[in-house]
Protein backbone atom coordinates (compact mmCIF):
# COMPACT_ATOMS: atom_id res chain seq x y z
CA UNK A 1 0.00 0.00 0.00
CA UNK A 2 1.33 3.46 -0.84
CA UNK A 3 0.11 7.04 -0.21
CA UNK A 4 -1.12 7.26 -3.81
CA UNK A 5 -3.00 3.98 -3.59
CA UNK A 6 -6.78 4.54 -3.83
CA UNK A 7 -7.10 2.16 -0.90
CA UNK A 8 -4.75 4.30 1.19
CA UNK A 9 -6.32 4.63 4.63
CA UNK A 10 -7.25 7.72 6.53
CA UNK A 11 -4.80 7.90 9.39
CA UNK A 12 -5.86 8.86 12.88
CA UNK A 13 -2.64 10.75 13.63
CA UNK A 14 0.01 12.50 11.50
CA UNK A 15 2.68 10.32 13.11
CA UNK A 16 1.02 7.27 11.54
CA UNK A 17 1.03 8.84 8.10
CA UNK A 18 4.69 9.80 8.50
CA UNK A 19 5.53 6.25 9.58
CA UNK A 20 3.71 4.83 6.55
CA UNK A 21 5.66 7.21 4.33
CA UNK A 22 8.96 5.95 5.72
CA UNK A 23 7.93 2.33 5.13
CA UNK A 24 6.88 3.15 1.57
CA UNK A 25 10.19 4.87 0.89
CA UNK A 26 12.12 1.75 1.87
CA UNK A 27 9.79 -0.64 0.04
CA UNK A 28 8.34 -2.32 3.12
CA UNK A 29 4.85 -3.73 2.67
CA UNK A 30 2.39 -2.71 5.35
CA UNK A 31 -1.26 -2.88 6.29
CA UNK A 32 -3.09 -0.36 8.44
CA UNK A 33 -5.09 -1.69 11.39
CA UNK A 34 -5.81 -5.01 9.64
CA UNK A 35 -6.74 -6.99 12.72
CA UNK A 36 -8.47 -6.44 16.04
CA UNK A 37 -7.55 -8.69 18.93
CA UNK A 38 -10.33 -9.27 21.50
CA UNK A 39 -8.99 -8.80 25.02
CA UNK A 40 -12.07 -9.28 27.18
CA UNK A 41 -15.60 -10.64 26.70
CA UNK A 42 -18.71 -10.33 28.83
CA UNK A 43 -20.76 -13.27 30.07
CA UNK A 44 -22.62 -13.40 26.76
CA UNK A 45 -19.39 -13.66 24.79
CA UNK A 46 -19.49 -10.14 23.44
CA UNK A 47 -16.15 -8.39 23.06
CA UNK A 48 -16.00 -5.57 25.59
CA UNK A 49 -12.35 -4.69 25.16
CA UNK A 50 -10.10 -5.10 22.15
CA UNK A 51 -6.80 -3.91 20.76
CA UNK A 52 -6.07 -2.91 17.18
CA UNK A 53 -2.37 -2.37 16.42
CA UNK A 54 -1.73 0.45 13.98
CA UNK A 55 0.37 -1.42 11.43
CA UNK A 56 1.14 -4.93 10.30
CA UNK A 57 4.27 -5.70 8.30
CA UNK A 58 3.43 -9.00 6.55
CA UNK A 59 6.97 -9.78 5.36
CA UNK A 60 8.25 -9.42 8.93
CA UNK A 61 5.09 -10.84 10.54
CA UNK A 62 5.28 -7.88 12.89
CA UNK A 63 2.60 -5.61 14.34
CA UNK A 64 3.52 -2.02 15.17
CA UNK A 65 1.77 0.21 17.66
CA UNK A 66 2.57 3.91 17.81
CA UNK A 67 1.65 5.97 20.83
CA UNK A 68 2.22 9.68 21.12
CA UNK A 69 0.82 9.85 24.64
CA UNK A 70 2.95 11.10 27.45
CA UNK A 71 4.16 8.17 29.60
CA UNK A 72 1.96 9.18 32.54
CA UNK A 73 -1.10 9.12 30.27
CA UNK A 74 -0.44 5.82 28.54
CA UNK A 75 -1.28 3.50 31.44
CA UNK A 76 -4.39 2.14 29.73
CA UNK A 77 -2.57 1.40 26.51
CA UNK A 78 0.30 -0.26 28.34
CA UNK A 79 -2.16 -2.46 30.20
CA UNK A 80 -3.84 -3.47 26.96
CA UNK A 81 -0.49 -4.34 25.43
CA UNK A 82 0.43 -6.47 28.43
CA UNK A 83 -2.93 -8.24 28.21
CA UNK A 84 -2.45 -8.82 24.50
CA UNK A 85 0.94 -10.41 25.05
CA UNK A 86 -0.64 -12.71 27.64
CA UNK A 87 -3.49 -13.77 25.36
CA UNK A 88 -1.58 -13.84 22.07
CA UNK A 89 2.03 -14.74 22.91
CA UNK A 90 2.62 -15.93 19.35
CA UNK A 91 1.96 -12.46 17.95
CA UNK A 92 5.00 -10.25 17.42
CA UNK A 93 4.24 -6.67 18.35
CA UNK A 94 6.54 -3.70 18.83
CA UNK A 95 5.53 -0.53 20.61
CA UNK A 96 6.98 2.77 19.51
CA UNK A 97 6.56 5.21 22.34
CA UNK A 98 6.36 8.95 22.19
CA UNK A 99 10.11 9.51 22.55
CA UNK A 100 10.93 6.79 20.03
CA UNK A 101 8.54 8.25 17.47
CA UNK A 102 10.13 11.61 18.00
CA UNK A 103 13.60 10.08 17.55
CA UNK A 104 12.50 8.52 14.27
CA UNK A 105 11.00 11.77 13.05
CA UNK A 106 14.16 13.68 13.84
CA UNK A 107 16.26 10.93 12.24
CA UNK A 108 14.22 11.08 9.05
CA UNK A 109 14.07 14.86 8.86
CA UNK A 110 10.48 15.24 10.00
CA UNK A 111 11.24 18.01 12.46
CA UNK A 112 7.88 19.62 11.83
CA UNK A 113 6.23 16.46 13.11
CA UNK A 114 8.64 16.14 16.02
CA UNK A 115 7.61 19.49 17.41
CA UNK A 116 3.86 18.86 17.77
CA UNK A 117 4.50 15.55 19.58
CA UNK A 118 5.78 17.58 22.47
CA UNK A 119 2.56 19.59 22.56
CA UNK A 120 -0.58 19.09 24.58
CA UNK A 121 -2.68 18.22 21.52
CA UNK A 122 -1.37 14.70 21.42
CA UNK A 123 -2.62 14.01 24.90
CA UNK A 124 -6.25 14.25 23.93
CA UNK A 125 -6.68 11.00 22.07
CA UNK A 126 -5.00 7.64 22.07
CA UNK A 127 -3.73 6.52 18.69
Amino acid sequence: MTPTDPQHPTFVHPAEEAFAGILDFYGIKWEYEPRTFPLERDAAGNVVEAFTPDFYLPEQDLYIELTTLRPQLSTRKNRKLRRMKELYPEVNIKLFKRREIRDLEVKYGLANNAGPIRGAATQEKEV
Binding site: I22, Y26, G27, Q60
Partner: protein
Protein backbone atom coordinates in the same frame (compact mmCIF):
# COMPACT_ATOMS: atom_id res chain seq x y z
CA UNK B 1 32.79 14.83 30.26
CA UNK B 2 35.25 13.30 32.62
CA UNK B 3 37.79 11.68 30.31
CA UNK B 4 40.60 13.72 28.81
CA UNK B 5 41.35 13.72 25.09
CA UNK B 6 44.60 14.38 23.28
CA UNK B 7 42.89 16.92 21.03
CA UNK B 8 40.62 19.74 22.13
CA UNK B 9 37.37 19.34 20.21
CA UNK B 10 36.03 22.64 21.51
CA UNK B 11 32.41 23.32 20.73
CA UNK B 12 31.84 19.81 19.37
CA UNK B 13 32.83 18.23 22.68
CA UNK B 14 30.90 20.81 24.64
CA UNK B 15 27.67 19.45 23.15
CA UNK B 16 28.41 16.01 24.60
CA UNK B 17 26.96 15.09 27.99
CA UNK B 18 28.67 11.74 28.43
CA UNK B 19 31.24 9.58 26.66
CA UNK B 20 29.79 6.13 26.04
CA UNK B 21 32.70 4.49 24.25
CA UNK B 22 36.25 5.81 24.48
CA UNK B 23 38.69 5.92 21.56
CA UNK B 24 40.66 3.11 23.19
CA UNK B 25 37.59 0.90 23.55
CA UNK B 26 36.67 1.53 19.92
CA UNK B 27 40.10 0.65 18.64
CA UNK B 28 40.31 -2.49 20.76
CA UNK B 29 36.96 -3.78 19.49
CA UNK B 30 37.78 -2.91 15.88
CA UNK B 31 41.01 -4.90 16.16
CA UNK B 32 39.05 -7.86 17.57
CA UNK B 33 36.59 -7.74 14.69
CA UNK B 34 39.44 -7.41 12.20
CA UNK B 35 41.08 -10.46 13.69
CA UNK B 36 37.86 -12.48 13.39
CA UNK B 37 37.37 -11.40 9.78
CA UNK B 38 40.98 -12.29 8.95
CA UNK B 39 40.38 -15.78 10.31
CA UNK B 40 36.97 -16.36 8.72
CA UNK B 41 37.82 -15.01 5.29
CA UNK B 42 41.35 -16.36 4.88
CA UNK B 43 41.85 -17.42 1.26
CA UNK B 44 38.51 -15.95 0.13
CA UNK B 45 39.66 -12.51 -1.02
CA UNK B 46 36.52 -10.87 0.39
CA UNK B 47 35.08 -7.62 -0.86
CA UNK B 48 34.14 -5.22 1.91
CA UNK B 49 31.38 -2.81 0.99
CA UNK B 50 30.37 0.23 3.01
CA UNK B 51 27.58 2.72 2.64
CA UNK B 52 28.64 6.35 2.76
CA UNK B 53 29.13 8.47 4.73
CA UNK B 54 29.17 7.37 8.35
CA UNK B 55 31.06 4.13 7.78
CA UNK B 56 34.30 5.71 6.58
CA UNK B 57 35.81 6.00 10.07
CA UNK B 58 35.03 2.41 11.02
CA UNK B 59 35.98 1.10 7.58
CA UNK B 60 39.35 2.86 7.60
CA UNK B 61 40.29 1.39 10.96
CA UNK B 62 38.80 -2.03 10.20
CA UNK B 63 40.67 -2.40 6.91
CA UNK B 64 43.96 -1.81 8.71
CA UNK B 65 43.05 -4.42 11.33
CA UNK B 66 42.50 -7.14 8.72
CA UNK B 67 45.55 -9.17 7.87
CA UNK B 68 44.37 -11.10 4.78
CA UNK B 69 43.99 -9.78 1.20
CA UNK B 70 40.77 -7.83 0.74
CA UNK B 71 39.17 -5.35 -1.59
CA UNK B 72 36.90 -2.46 -0.70
CA UNK B 73 34.13 -0.52 -2.39
CA UNK B 74 31.48 1.97 -1.38
CA UNK B 75 27.90 2.75 -2.25
CA UNK B 76 25.63 5.61 -1.29
CA UNK B 77 21.85 5.66 -1.05
CA UNK B 78 19.37 8.46 -0.75
CA UNK B 79 18.07 9.04 2.76
CA UNK B 80 14.45 9.46 3.67
CA UNK B 81 13.15 12.98 3.93
CA UNK B 82 9.75 14.47 3.20
CA UNK B 83 11.16 15.87 -0.03
CA UNK B 84 12.77 12.58 -1.06
CA UNK B 85 9.57 10.68 -0.38
CA UNK B 86 7.75 12.94 -2.84
CA UNK B 87 10.18 11.74 -5.50
CA UNK B 88 9.55 8.08 -4.82
CA UNK B 89 11.50 5.38 -3.08
CA UNK B 90 15.05 4.99 -1.85
CA UNK B 91 17.62 4.83 -4.64
CA UNK B 92 21.34 4.31 -5.13
CA UNK B 93 23.09 7.64 -5.60
CA UNK B 94 26.51 6.01 -5.97
CA UNK B 95 26.81 2.45 -7.19
CA UNK B 96 29.64 -0.04 -6.69
CA UNK B 97 32.61 0.17 -9.00
CA UNK B 98 33.45 -3.53 -8.64
CA UNK B 99 31.26 -6.46 -9.74
CA UNK B 100 30.27 -8.75 -6.88
CA UNK B 101 28.91 -11.79 -8.71
CA UNK B 102 30.57 -14.85 -7.23
CA UNK B 103 32.44 -12.78 -4.62
CA UNK B 104 32.42 -13.20 -0.87
CA UNK B 105 30.92 -9.90 0.22
CA UNK B 106 31.04 -8.46 3.71
CA UNK B 107 28.81 -5.46 4.09
CA UNK B 108 30.21 -3.05 6.67
CA UNK B 109 27.92 -0.57 8.39
CA UNK B 110 28.53 1.89 11.19
CA UNK B 111 25.13 1.57 12.82
CA UNK B 112 21.95 -0.44 12.42
CA UNK B 113 18.78 1.08 13.82
CA UNK B 114 15.45 0.26 12.17
CA UNK B 115 17.20 -1.93 9.60
CA UNK B 116 15.25 -0.26 6.77
CA UNK B 117 18.26 1.09 4.89
CA UNK B 118 20.33 -2.02 5.43
CA UNK B 119 17.46 -4.23 4.31
CA UNK B 120 17.17 -2.26 1.07
CA UNK B 121 20.90 -2.45 0.39
CA UNK B 122 21.15 -6.16 1.16
CA UNK B 123 18.27 -6.96 -1.18
CA UNK B 124 20.02 -4.94 -3.86
CA UNK B 125 23.35 -6.69 -3.32
CA UNK B 126 21.80 -10.16 -3.07
CA UNK B 127 20.24 -9.68 -6.49
CA UNK B 128 23.78 -9.39 -7.92
CA UNK B 129 24.48 -13.00 -6.91
CA UNK B 130 27.50 -12.84 -4.61
CA UNK B 131 28.97 -16.14 -3.39
CA UNK B 132 28.13 -15.04 0.14
CA UNK B 133 26.79 -11.91 1.79
CA UNK B 134 27.32 -11.17 5.47
CA UNK B 135 26.98 -8.09 7.64
CA UNK B 136 29.45 -6.41 9.98
CA UNK B 137 28.02 -3.62 12.15
CA UNK B 138 29.89 -1.58 14.70
CA UNK B 139 26.92 -0.14 16.58
CA UNK B 140 23.61 -1.88 17.15
CA UNK B 141 20.57 0.13 18.26
CA UNK B 142 18.14 -2.76 18.42
CA UNK B 143 15.22 -1.10 20.18
CA UNK B 144 14.02 0.50 16.94
CA UNK B 145 14.52 -2.62 14.82
CA UNK B 146 11.78 -3.25 12.28
CA UNK B 147 13.63 -5.64 10.00
CA UNK B 148 15.42 -8.59 11.56
CA UNK B 149 18.84 -8.85 9.91
CA UNK B 150 21.47 -11.43 10.92
CA UNK B 151 24.73 -9.77 12.01
CA UNK B 152 27.87 -11.86 11.58
CA UNK B 153 30.05 -9.32 13.40
CA UNK B 154 28.89 -6.70 15.89
CA UNK B 155 30.87 -4.19 17.88
CA UNK B 156 28.73 -2.54 20.51
CA UNK B 157 25.13 -2.25 21.61
CA UNK B 158 24.03 1.35 21.83
CA UNK B 159 21.23 2.63 24.03
CA UNK B 160 18.20 4.23 22.50
CA UNK B 161 19.64 7.70 22.90
CA UNK B 162 21.17 10.33 20.64
CA UNK B 163 24.73 9.06 20.28
CA UNK B 164 27.27 10.78 18.02
CA UNK B 165 30.92 10.45 17.08
CA UNK B 166 33.15 7.99 15.22
CA UNK B 167 30.97 8.38 12.14
CA UNK B 168 27.64 8.88 13.89
CA UNK B 169 26.23 12.28 13.10
CA UNK B 170 23.51 14.61 14.12
CA UNK B 171 22.59 16.85 11.21
CA UNK B 172 25.97 16.00 9.62
CA UNK B 173 27.97 17.16 12.66
CA UNK B 174 30.03 15.29 15.27
CA UNK B 175 31.18 12.48 12.93
CA UNK B 176 34.82 13.44 13.53
CA UNK B 177 34.74 12.95 17.28
CA UNK B 178 37.08 10.03 18.13
CA UNK B 179 34.69 8.65 20.74
CA UNK B 180 30.97 7.90 20.93
CA UNK B 181 29.06 10.19 23.23
CA UNK B 182 25.58 11.23 24.13
CA UNK B 183 24.37 14.51 22.74
CA UNK B 184 23.03 16.96 25.26
CA UNK B 185 19.22 17.05 24.95
CA UNK B 186 19.30 20.82 24.52
CA UNK B 187 21.08 20.33 21.18
CA UNK B 188 18.49 18.19 19.46
CA UNK B 189 15.47 19.59 21.25
CA UNK B 190 16.08 22.80 19.37
CA UNK B 191 15.55 21.04 16.06
CA UNK B 192 11.86 21.91 15.75
CA UNK B 193 12.60 25.56 16.42
CA UNK B 194 15.10 25.97 13.57
Amino acid sequence: MTRSLAVDYGELASDISEILISPEELQQRVVEIGRAISHDYAGKNPLLIGVLKGVVFFMADLLRAITVPIEVDFIAVSSYSPEASQRGVVRLVKDLELPIVGRHVLFVEDVIDTGLTLNYILRNLQARQPASLEVCVLFDKSEHRLIDIPLKYKGFDLPNRFAVGYGLDYRERYRNLPFVGLLKPAVFQNVAKD
